[in-house]
């Protein structure tokens, strides 16, 4: 992919394996035919917005499912887990109708909202919460710490590795999200990186050098985030399974 991004379309079709000198030309062509800056910004906004909100919502939900006691919570959790099995394509039409009725079609909010509460992340936080000592919560309550304080100042700091794992998974999923954004967004101004790549591959004549450069640029943010959080990501995943 990196090598192809430096070669011309003809060289890519010729299966050239050596780096070429077309990188800047490919970049010039890419920004000439597509609004790269806007697509990057939109993808970044969606991915960061989704990640932050998903971490907030799912960590609270996971914490609540494990720490607070309610007769129906296991039943609710079972329903949530069953929801994992429903393919997104099956819920797309009613979801579209919902967003159309509240006037959110063609907005980044419509891309973010369906992704901020996912059964997998709630399960991840719930499993991680199992290893959190309940005695600490009881001691904090006796000391007069509020419930918000227990969650924010005691629970969250101890969940750093789970947070990192959840952040990597959510960011990658949101960054690569394609089906729903392409349906709900109907304006070039809201185009995301996967949609930009789809545009580049849609014509009768595809410039494979430009296409590979766009794919490379679209892959970089997720690679960087994963590399930065790699160690804590591994701890978070194994911690959740323990």
């Amino acid at each position: 992919m990196a090598v192809s991004a430096t070669n011309s379309s003809r060289d890519v079709l010729d299966s050239r394996l050596l780096p070429g000198d077309q990188l800047f030309e490919n970049f010039a062509k890419l920004i000439g035919v597509q609004d790269l800056g806007s697509a990057m910004w939109n993808s970044f906004s969606v991915a960061v917005g989704t990640t932050v909100l998903a971490l907030v919502v799912c960590s609270i939900a996971g914490y609540a499912f494990e720490i607070f006691h309610s007769r129906g919570k296991d039943f609710v959790m079972a329903i949530l887990l069953l929801a994992i099995m429903i393919p997104f394509a099956a819920t797309m039409v009613p979801l579209f109708r919902l967003f159309a009725e509240v006037g959110l079609v063609n907005s980044l909010a419509a891309v973010i909202i369906p992704a901020i509460s996912t059964p997998f992340l709630i399960l991840l936080f719930r499993q991680a919460s199992r290893s959190f000592p309940y005695e600490i919560i009881e001691a904090a309550r006796i000391d007069g710490v509020s419930e918000v304080g227990i969650f924010a100042r005691i629970y969250l700091p101890s969940m750093r590795s789970t947070m990192a794992a959840a952040a990597v998974i959510t960011f990658m999923t949101a960054w690569n999200n394609f089906l729903w954004p392409k349906v709900i967004l109907v304006n070039n101004a809201f185009q995301t990186m996967p949609m930009l790549i789809s545009n580049l591959a849609a014509g009768y004549v595809t410039d494979y050098g430009v296409l590979m450069l766009a794919v490379l640029l679209a892959s970089l943010p997720t690679m960087v985030i994963f590399l930065i959080l790699q160690r804590t990501f591994a701890e978070g995943i194994t911690g959740a399974i323990k």
Binding site: L13, S107, V148, F151, Y204
Partner: protein, 435 residues
């Protein structure tokens, strides 16, 4: 009470940033959808490919602005692979208000969408658009129950494009491959392969493009007039698959694994020709070192099929006026430009290679200009002439299901499976998909 206030605090703490963040994100909107331009002089359009379809729309806007200076066209780049699920979602959720005024539709998908989601379309006024100026085979794609819902644009007329230098090396000219049968083609192609080591054709393994082109060249189809699949009892299909099998077995047709590899076979010169829609010329011309070494002619004829001709098509698309459109303005725009402007087609031919389906465009001097890449041959005038001869066929509402099933059957047959058994399975699969 204390516990309750803690819960309320927690809920507010979550809901407040959520609301603020999402509110900040939801700016904008409007613009793109909704029948749609916002004022009576503006149309919105969904189409794909900036260098081809979108370029044509932009030039059409300029042509229309000559008599309508206040007119504006807002174009939203939407690949067909994205446009189709978008249309399906809008139709199933009944949110027709999100449709643009105009959108582009692949000809082969027209019947399926026209039959399943008629509410997406507005009828094209035949007083405004003269459909007799388009090939009947093309208008048939967008005609549902006698009503026309599309203005044909992109020409999918098929050509046989061959490397003249390779033919010459083997002692042939392009005339030897003109007005011939598939049997003659295979004989001559085998000779070219023996003398030069170059196969003449290539294609994606498991793709039915060649078989479908052979079928259409005889006006045959995978469906009968009632739309029922006829895959397991279709002499034309049997013959088309037999031709394809002989092409592959003789080595004159190289099967590759992907579209990229297919393009690579003739761009890098490992194959000396191709048979496809005229739009393939854009990829052929990517091999600049082969300029002047190509020629185009009509297709071989399938002698064993009743009504076989030398002409066929693969691909192509038509403009649709949506049910949410400013119908009068959208129809007038299409009638004045894509169904009425030689100037438009003369402009977009050299800039994007978009060849007209509108027959009067083929008579212009621009179409008659020699194409240096094709050795000075006026290939676009030839293609418009070929297009008028393409037989009409019945794509049916389940064209893609039929095509996919036949593709799978071809793979099995090439692998040694019995023709009747493989086509029987394909028939059953299509019938299942139609249930």
């Amino acid at each position: 009470m204390h516990a309750f206030s803690k819960k309320v605090t927690m809920a507010v703490a979550v809901a407040l940033p959520l609301t603020l963040a999402l509110g900040a994100c939801s700016a904008g909107g409007g613009g793109g959808g909704g029948g749609a331009g916002g004022d009576e002089n503006t149309l919105t359009a969904w189409a794909w490919d900036p260098t081809f379809n979108i370029n044509a729309l932009e030039e059409a806007e300029k042509v229309y602005q000559e008599d309508h200076p206040d007119f504006e066209l807002e174009i939203v780049e939407t690949p067909w692979e994205d446009l189709e699920p978008k249309l399906t979602t809008l139709a199933q959720s009944q949110q027709f208000g999100e449709l643009p005024d105009i959108f582009l539709m692949q000809n082969n998908a027209f019947q399926k969408n026209g039959v399943n989601y008629p509410d997406l379309f507005s009828e094209i006024d035949t007083d405004a658009v003269d459909f007799s100026q388009f090939p009947e085979a093309v208008t048939a794609y967008s005609t549902v129950d006698g009503v026309n819902y599309g203005v044909p644009f992109d020409n999918g007329t098929a050509i046989q494009a061959l490397r003249t230098d390779v033919l010459e090396e083997a002692g042939y000219t392009i005339d030897d491959f003109t007005d011939i049968t598939w049997d003659q083609f295979i004989t001559q192609a085998e000779d070219v392969l023996a003398k030069t080591g170059m196969p003449l054709l290539s294609g994606q393994a498991g793709a039915a493009d060649t078989v479908m082109m052979i079928l259409q060249s005889a006006g045959a189809s995978l469906f009968d007039d009632e739309g029922n699949p006829t895959i397991d009892d279709n002499p034309a299909l049997d013959e088309a698959i037999d031709i394809y099998t002989r092409l592959v077995d003789s080595g004159v047709f190289v099967e590759v694994n992907s579209w990229d590899e297919y393009l690579g076979t003739f761009v890098n010169g490992s194959v000396a020709g191709t048979i496809n829609g005229i739009w393939i010329v854009g990829s052929i011309q990517g091999a600049e070192d082969q300029a002047g070494k190509w020629a185009a002619t009509n297709l071989p004829r399938a002698e064993g099929i009743d009504g076989a001709t030398q002409f066929s098509a693969n691909g192509g698309s038509s403009w649709v006026v949506s049910s949410n459109a400013n119908v009068d303005l959208a129809t007038d725009f299409l009638a004045t430009t894509f169904a009425g402007s030689t100037e438009l087609y003369d402009t977009i031919l050299p800039t994007s290679g978009a060849v007209a389906n509108w027959i009067p465009a083929g008579g212009s001097s621009v179409y008659a200009e020699p194409n240096e890449f094709f050795g000075g041959q006026p290939i676009f005038a030839d293609v418009v002439r070929f297009g008028a001869e393409v037989p009409s066929n019945n794509t049916g509402a389940y064209y893609y299901e039929g095509r996919d099933a036949v593709s799978a059957a071809i793979t099995q047959i090439i692998g040694g499976a019995d023709l009747k058994t493989a086509l029987g399975e394909a028939q059953a699969n299509v019938e299942f998909a139609m249930e």
